[in-house]
């Protein structure tokens, strides 16, 4: 099995800017790329999952550094990021749009680029497609059940959520830290995730996630020519600090293990669906 899809090279990195690192989920790679893009003119609008009321996720077109920063961090619930793509081009008049999404959303934007039936004048305005690693996502009320029922924290009080070391972590605004075993969150997963074979956003220009790198750092795959050019520009501008991926712990081996386990498990689910005659994307 090919765990990662095609890529040019992988590295471990984090944003050099402290403020970005403080607000972001891991190494702040997505926010650093966005902010660099907006400040250098490589991008003029970026799609984010903004924090809505009670820690829900709201897709938004961000055009300023402040907007990017306030939307930093992972929301473990669906944020239909493609739903605002057309508005980025039409209402906001953006010519160089940056996008971030889960692997499925990256697949969706790739389909839009090849088959842009309902996307007049959008395809040539997409300047950068970033993908974030993803094992599964939760519907909002699934997330709410995990956080309120299992962890005893009110949604309105959530500051950050994270997945790591086999646990789901909830940090409240008042300093509480609660965890639940990851396997106890499985009943609340979005079922559509169980046909998904992509862990590392294999179709993005640049993909990133926490797994493989030390705390506060991110693992990054540079996949396309566009992604490489953007990455080089970030490196030259000094907005990221870089380490050789072979020198960091736990390294790509763990990413490979998780990517393969997703493909194996969901491959079984796909076979099962086929067997009982349920449709699959084809």
């Amino acid at each position: 099995m090919d765990p990662f899809g095609s890529y040019k090279f992988a590295i471990s990195a984090r944003a050099t800017d402290n403020q970005i690192r403080k607000k972001s989920q891991d190494g702040g790679i997505v926010s650093a790329a966005y902010i660099h893009g907006l400040e250098s003119g490589l991008l003029d609008g970026v799609i984010v999952a903004d924090k809505g009321e009670d820690f829900c996720a709201i897709p938004k077109v961000a055009t300023t550094v402040d907007e990017v920063l306030s939307a930093a961090g992972t929301k473990y619930t669906t944020s239909p990021n493609l739903s605002v793509l057309k508005s980025a081009v039409r209402e906001y008049g953006c010519d160089k749009v940056g996008f971030v999404g889960t692997p499925c959303q990256v697949q969706s934007i790739r389909k839009m680029l090849k088959y842009p039936i309902g996307y007049r004048h959008v395809p040539d305005k997409i300047a950068l497609v970033m993908g974030i690693f993803c094992m599964e996502n939760f519907p909002y009320n699934g997330l709410k059940t995990i956080i309120e029922e299992h962890c005893g924290i009110k949604m309105e009080d959530v500051a950050k959520t994270d997945i790591g070391k086999g646990k789901f972590w909830v940090y409240s605004k008042w300093g509480d830290v609660k965890t639940i075993k990851l396997k106890d969150t499985h009943p609340y997963e979005q079922h559509a995730c169980h046909v998904c074979m992509d862990y590392t956003a294999e179709l993005a220009d640049i993909s990133t996630g926490s797994v493989g790198s030390p705390d506060g750092w991110s693992t990054i795959f540079i996949r396309t020519a566009k992604g490489e050019a953007f990455y080089k520009a970030m490196e030259e501008a000094g907005v990221i600090e870089i380490k050789n991926i072979d020198d960091v712990k736990p390294g790509l081996g763990l990413v490979e293990k998780l990517a393969n386990s997703k493909k194996e498990n969901n491959g079984k689910e796909r076979a099962h669906r086929k067997e009982i005659g349920l449709p699959l994307p084809y």
């Binding site: 499925c104 449709p279 084809y282």
Partner: protein, 228 residues
């Protein structure tokens, strides 16, 4: 050179405007083809015999024998007959026509071209984006059947487009992951995302098929996976 004709039946001309909206790409396309007939772009009275590609825009008014004859003639004359746009592909807004309108009060039945004659390709959307029309024409010129396969399928089976397809084919099948591609694709904003799933306002849906054709959880051709 490849001979192409653009023919219009019951339609608004929006699909042709969309094709013309590609600026320099239209010139590339026009440079690569011989436009043998187009009511709007060429001064020719009849669709010639033996045309390589006919782009037919609009649905067919079954209460108008001229329309029916034109549809049949186009089928006969074209090597590749393309149902251009949602009216030809799936009926679109003309599905709601019920006659009684001036100046043709007896014209009450409108069927998508795909239900009247066998079409080779159907491009949904109201209108389909300029980029998608150019991509289909280019692929047809190059004989890229892999790329065209979804359009060939729609020509065969896709005449019943509706926003409800998202409910029936995606949400009800446990396949919707909430990307929002359908919502942005809808030209009438009939699709909104609620709790990470599309919600359809049926009063506003014109049955153009853009939402479901854009969904990666119904159709995801392998060639999309080739990135550079």
């Amino acid at each position: 050179m490849v001979k192409v004709a653009h023919v219009q039946l019951s339609s608004c001309c929006g699909c042709l405007v969309s094709l013309a909206d590609t600026y320099e790409k239209l010139l590339d396309v026009l440079g690569a083809i011989d436009l043998v007939y187009s009511q709007t772009l060429a001064d020719v009275k009849e669709v010639p015999d033996d045309v390589d590609i006919i782009l037919l825009e609009g649905s067919v008014c079954l209460s108008d024998h001229h329309a029916l004859e034109t549809a049949l003639a186009c089928r006969e004359k074209a090597k590749i007959l393309v149902a251009l746009g949602a009216c030809a592909a799936s009926g679109n807004i003309t599905r709601f026509s019920r006659g009684g309108q001036m100046s043709k009060p007896v014209h009450d039945a409108f069927a998508p071209l795909t239900e009247v004659v066998k079409c080779d390709l159907a491009i949904p959307g109201c209108p389909p984006s300029p980029e998608s029309i150019v991509a289909v024409i280019t692929a047809a010129l190059e004989g890229d059947m892999d790329y065209l396969e979804p359009y060939a399928e729609l020509a065969k089976y896709g005449s019943e487009a509706c926003g409800c397809d998202l409910i029936v084919k995606v949400i009800n099948k446990s396949l919707c992951m909430g990307c929002g591609a359908c919502a942005a694709a809808c030209p009438t904003r009939a699709v909104s995302m609620e709790c990470g799933r599309p919600a359809i306002d049926k009063e506003i849906c014109i049955k153009c098929g853009a939402c479901s054709v854009q969904c990666p959880r119904i159709r995801f051709p392998e060639l999309i996976e080739k990135i550079e």
